[in-house]
Symmetry: none
Subunit: 315 residues, 5 copies
C-alpha cells in the first residue's frame, strides 16, 4: 500500500486526475527507492545533444538502446527518459516494469538557435506505454515564449489522458552570463517557472552560490547559500514551498566523489532525487551499477561513507 512519504507527495497533486497521480505513483513506487518519496532517473538524450560517439564511444555497449533500459532495471532506478526513437527501440525490454518518460523535444550540437524541436507527442507516449512526457525549456532564450506555448499544449493534452509532465528547466540566453546559467537566483527562478507551467516534476541543475540578477541581490541578503544543500533547499522552497517533486542533475561527467556529494546535498536540502545520465552510461556497466547503488544508498540514508555527511550540514 501507499507509504506515508508517497501519500504526502501525491497530496500535492490533488487537482490532477487519478491517472496522472497513478503515473506519478508508479515512478515513486518502482525500484530500490520505491515508497521513499525519492527518485533516481536515468535520462539518455545525449545522442541528440552531442552525437553518438561523444555519448557512447567511451562505453560501446551503450550504442544499443536496450542497454540503458536493462541497466535502469538492474540498478533499481525509478524511471527512464529518452527521445522517441530510443524509446521505440527499447520500450519492450522491461515492458510494464520500468516507468518511461518520453522526451518530447530535443536540441543538438549544431543548433543555430537556443531552442529545441518537438520530436514526439502525447499519442506516442500512450502507444509506447509511457508514464510521463518530458519537455525542456530555456528560460532567457529568444525561443522561450514559443517553448512555453508548445509546453502548455503538450501538458494539457498529457494531463487529459492521465500522463505526468516532467520539465527540464535550463536558463540560457542573451540576458544571462555563462556563470549566470547556474546562479542560485536563476536556478530558483527557472524551477519556479517550470512549476508555474504546471510541471509535476521539475528538473534543474545544481546551483552555484552566484547571484546573477542585480535586482535580486537584495532579496538574497541574509540567506545562507554557503553549502550545496542550503542552495538546494532554496530551490525546493522556490518550487511551491517544496510541494512539487524537484530533481537535480550535476552536469558533466565527473569524479565519483563529486557525484556522491551531489546526492547527499540533494537529500539534505530536501530535493527529491537525482537525474543522472552521462555519469551513468559513460562508465563501464559494472562501475555504473556500483555508483548508482551507492547513490540510492545515500537516499536511503544507508550511506556507508559517514564522513561525507558532516561536511554538508543544513544550517
Amino acid at each position: 500500500m501507499t507509504t506515508p512519504a508517497v501519500a504526502e507527495i501525491l497530496s500535492w497533486y490533488a487537482s490532477e486526475t487519478p491517472g496522472t497521480r497513478a503515473n506519478l505513483a508508479r515512478m515513486l513506487n518502482t525500484g530500490r527507492l520505491a515508497g521513499t518519496g525519492k527518485m533516481v532517473i536515468l535520462p539518455v538524450d545525449q545522442g541528440f545533444e552531442h552525437g553518438p560517439a561523444r555519448s557512447f564511444a567511451v562505453n560501446p555497449p551503450a550504442y544499443d538502446p536496450r542497454y540503458h533500459v536493462e541497466l535502469a532495471v538492474e540498478a533499481g532506478l525509478n524511471a527512464y527518459a529518452a527521445p522517441l526513437g530510443m524509446m521505440e527501440a527499447a520500450c519492450d525490454v522491461a515492458v510494464g516494469e520500468l516507468p518511461l518518460i518520453l522526451k518530447t523535444n530535443s536540441s543538438n550540437s549544431w543548433a543555430t538557435a537556443k531552442d529545441q524541436a518537438v520530436t514526439a507527442g502525447v499519442d506516442d507516449a500512450l502507444r509506447l506505454g509511457c508514464a510521463a512526457i518530458g519537455y525542456t525549456i530555456y528560460p532567457g532564450s529568444d525561443a522561450f515564449f514559443d517553448q512555453l506555448d508548445k509546453l502548455r499544449d503538450l501538458a494539457a493534452e498529457a494531463k487529459a489522458v492521465g500522463l505526468a509532465v516532467v520539465v527540464w528547466s535550463y536558463p540560457r540566453g542573451e540576458e544571462l552570463s555563462k556563470d549566470g546559467e547556474l546562479a542560485l537566483d536563476v536556478t530558483a527562478y527557472a524551477a519556479h517557472m517550470a512549476a508555474l507551467m504546471g510541471a509535476h516534476i521539475v528538473k534543474v541543475k545544481l546551483p552555484t552560490a552566484h547571484i546573477e540578477q542585480k535586482d535580486a541581490v537584495k532579496a538574497y541578503d541574509g540567506l545562507d547559500t554557503s553549502t550545496q544543500a542550503k542552495r538546494v533547499a532554496h530551490v525546493v522552497q522556490s518550487t511551491f514551498a517544496g510541494r512539487r517533486i524537484n530533481i537535480f542533475s550535476g552536469g558533466a561527467t565527473k569524479g565519483e566523489d563529486a557525484v556522491f556529494d551531489d546526492a547527499r546535498a540533494i537529500r539534505d536540502g530536501g530535493g527529491h532525487g537525482s537525474i543522472i545520465g552521462r555519469n551513468t552510461f559513460q562508465r563501464p556497466r559494472g562501475e555504473a551499477l556500483a555508483m548508482l547503488g551507492r547513490i540510492i544508498d545515500i537516499y536511503l540514508d544507508r550511506d556507508t561513507d559517514g564522513e561525507a555527511i558532516p561536511d554538508q550540514p543544513l544550517g
Copy 2:
C-alpha cells in the same frame, strides 16, 4: 526483468502497441502471482447487477468502495475490475500499485432486455489510470449484434491509446436453454467469439459437460469432457489454441472446497486464472484473505492439500 512465462504470453500480442503490452504486463507482474503467467482478479459489479443489499449486506464493510481495493492489494491479486463510480471512489487507495480494469458496460436486476448499458468510456479509463477496459457480451441475446458494434468501437479506441481489453462472454437468449448457458460447447463458442472480437483477456464461466447445440454433438464425439480440467482445456483450445489469456469464474457463492477445486481445474486445464467476486467480498475479510491466499497457492503449485490434484488428472 520479464519472466519467460510472461514473455511467452506477451508474444501472443505482437500485433498490439507496446502500451497495450505494457498494461497486460502490469497485470501479469502484480501481486503474489507476478511473473507466473497466472492471474487472480477481483471484480465488483454485483451492486449494478443485484443491488447493494443483496451484494453487501452479508459483509457490511463491503459497502465501501475502498474496501475492495484494499482487499485486493492485501491479498496480492493481479487486478481489480469495477464500474465507473466504484472506480472513481476508490482508485486512489492503492494508486499506481494495483492494475485497474474499468467495466464499461453494466446490466441490472430490473433490465427489460438481455442487454447492458455502456456506462463508462476509454477517456474515463485514462483519467482514472486504468490498465484495461472491461466489457460484457451476451452471445445469443437479441442485443448481441448491437453489443458487438459497441465493443468494436470501444476496443479500437482502447488499443489506440495503449489499454488492454477484457471481455466477459456470457451466453444467454432465446436459442439457449438454462442449462445451455453453461454447456461446454456454448462456453467454448462464447470464448471463441470474444477472442474473434480482439479481446486480450477472455473471461467465461466454468463449463458443465452438457452439449447444448444439436449441430455440435458430432464435433464433440470422442472428446473426453469428464473432468472440469478437461473441459477447461477445451475452452482454452477454443480460444486461439491457448494464445489468448483465458480466465474463469465459478458462478454463485459456494463452499470453499468447490472454489479450490475450481482453481485446480483451471490450473490443470491450462487456464490462466480465476476471477472471483461474490465468493470473495461476501465472506468476512479474514476468511476472504485466507481463501484467496489458498487459491494463489494452488496457482503457485504450493497447494498444501496435495490429495486434491490427483482427483483432477488431465487424461
Copy 3:
C-alpha cells in the same frame, strides 16, 4: 511487370485510386495463380458462424490462427480472409507476403436476426496491414437496408485510403424460399447488387438452375442454364458484363470431385476464382494442400483429369 490478364482486370477499376488498384494487383499477383487473373482465397470465419468445435475439431491444428496463414502461403493462394481477432493473432506470420482481407462484419449460430454485427473497421485494416476489407450482405433480409448503409460508409472509407472492398452477397429472408437462396435469378441479382454498391470483388455461392422470382421467369426464357458453367456465365454477365472480379464458393464440405467440378465450372463460365474455407481447413493439412494444388491446376488449365472438362461444355 503486370501481365495482360491482370492489366485487363485493373482497367475495370479505373475510377479507383492507384492505392486500391495496387491492393487488387497484390491479390492478383500473389501465389501460384499470380498474373493469371484468377484467384483462390481462403476464408476462415467459420468460428464466428458455427463455433470452434464444429469448425476445427475435425482438424485440431486449425484451432491455432497461425495454421491458416501458413497453409494459405504454402498452398500458393492469393489471399486470406478472417475476422479481427484471427487477423490480430496471425497477421505477422507471413508478414507482407500474403494479402489479407479483414472481415468487418460477422454473424453467428445464435443470431436472432438475419443480420451481422460490425466487428472491425478500416482503421483496423490499416494497422494490421490488410489489402482489403470484407463485408457480408443478406439481400432480402429485414436488415438489408441497414447493412447497405453501413457498407456504404465502410466502403467509402476504405476506398479513400486505398483499400479494396470484397462483398459476400448471400440472399436470405422472408421473400425467399430455402431453394430460392441458391436460385440462378436470385444469385445473379445478389451479385449485381454487390457490384452496384461499389464492391471490387463480388462473392456469391454457385447457383442452381432454379428460378425463384415469378416476375423473372420470362426474362430467363431461352437462356440455357443446364450446366453449372453456363449458370456461372450468367452471374458473371450480371456483374457488370464481367467487368468486376466474381468469385464463387460451393457451400458445405463435400467430396473432392464435387469441389474440382465446381472449379472447372467457375473457370469455364468465366468466373475469376474460388473461395474455399471449410473444404480446406476441415481436411488434414496434407489433403488440403493436395486439393488446393489440384484446384489451382484447374485454373491454370493444367487439369490432369481431362475427362472432366468435356462434361461441362459452355454451349
Copy 4:
C-alpha cells in the same frame, strides 16, 4: 453564352452557390436540348430495383455499364443517373462530356419495408465528377420521416460543395390506395414536398385525374384536369409556381406512341422534360436512339407528327 431560357431557370436558384448553379447549367447546356431549358435524362437503376435479368436480358448489351453512358451521349441527352457501382464502372466513358447524377439511395424487389438504403454519398459524387446527387423519397411510407432526415443531410452536404440535388418523389404507404399513388392531388403534393426539401430538380410520375384525398376534393373543384397536359400544368404550378425544374416519367415500358404522347403533354403543360429509363434501354440500341431522337424533337417543337399536338390542347 447562356440563353434566355436557361438564364430564366437559373434565376430561380439565386440562393444557391454559383457552383450549384453551374452544375444545373451544365445539365441544361448539354446535348441536343442545350440552351432550351428542356431536359431528357436517362436513369439506370432498374438493376437495383428489379434485378439484372429483368432489366437487361431483353437487350443483353445493356448488362455493360458503359452501354448506357455511350447511348446517352450518342442520343444527345442532358444527363445520366445511376447508382454507385454503375457510375464507378462507366464514369470515364464520356468523361467531362455527359453530366452525371449519382443516385444516393436505392431499393430492391425483396425489400421488406417501403424504404431505400443510402448507397452512396456526396464524397462519392465529387470523386466521380458528378453534377448532382439523386435521392428517392416515398411520401406516405412509415420510413418517410427518416428518409427526409437523411435527404436533408445529403442535400445540405451537396449544396455546400456546389452539387445539384435531384429528388424522385414516389408516394406510397398505408394511407394511399393503389390508384392513389398516381392521383393528381397526391402527385402535386409529392412534388411540392420535394421542392420544400430543397430539391433543385423534382421528378414525379405523370398523374391520373383521380383525386385520392377526401379533404382535397373540394380544392380541386372547378380545376380542369381532363388532359395530361393540364394535369402536368397543375403539378408544375404546385412546384413553386413553376420555379423549380420539374421532370416526369411515364412508368412501365409501353408503346412508342404513348411515350411520345407523354412528352407532348409534359411540354404543353410546362414541364421541363422527361426521364426515361426502361423505355430506353429495354429496346435494341437503334430503336432506342430513334425513339429518343423523336422525343427530343417534340421538346424542340420539331414534332413531325403534327396531328398529335392538337390532341392535347391546353384549355
Copy 5:
C-alpha cells in the same frame, strides 16, 4: 515465408503496428535481393533538386516518369522513391509490384534557405498505394528544428496507418564546413538523429575519414577509420547498434568502379544497402541495368570481381 534475415530485421520494429512491419517486409521481400535483408533503392528527386535538364538531358528517356519505375522493376530493385507528381504519373506502371516511397518534402536549386518544403502527405501515400513516406532533414541548418517538428507529425500519422518512414539525413549549415558535411562524426550524428526521430530506414551519404567537430575528436581516438567499410560500420553502430535499417548513397555521378567499391564497403561494413539515383538514370538504360545487376551481385556475395574485396578489409 519470412527468411531469418528478414525476421531478424523485423524484430527491431516490434513497437510498430503489423501494418508498418508488413510494408517494411514488402520492401525487403521485393526484387533480386528479396529475403536477404539487403536493399537497393532507386530515388528520383533530382528534377526538384537540380531541374530537369541537369537531371535528364544526358539520358532523355528519363524525362518520362514511367521510365524509372520500369527500370527499377527490370533491375530487380527493392523500392522506388519519388516526389508526388512523379509518383502520380507512374505509380500504375508496376502496380502492386514495386514498393513505392513517397518523398514528402523537397528542395530546389533556387531555394533561399537550407530547407525543404512539404510537398506531399500521408493521405497521398495511401491513395497512391505507397509502402512508405520519405522525408529529408538538414541537421545543422537554421530550419532543422522546424523540419523535425513537421517530421514528427508526418511520421506519427504514417505509423498510425501502417506506413513505414524513411529519413534522408544530410548535414549542412553554418556550423559545418563543406568537408564537414561528409565527415564521419557528422554522418554518424546525422544517422543517429534520424533514428532518434523514429525513422525506420535511415539514409546517409558515405562518410569520409574527416572528423569535423573539435569536441568529438577525442571520442574517435583509437577508432580505425581507415577504410570505407570501417566507416560504414561506425555509422551502423551509431544507428542504434545496427538495429535500424541503414542505407547509403555515394553522392555525385562517378565511375562504375567507384560505385562497386561503395557497394562492397556498405556490405562489408554491415550496412543494409545502396540508394543510387543519378548514377542510375544518368546512364543509358542498358548500362544502368548492367551496373545495378553488378551491385546486386555484390550484396548477394556473387561478386565476380574478386580482387576488389581484399582492397576493403574490415579490420
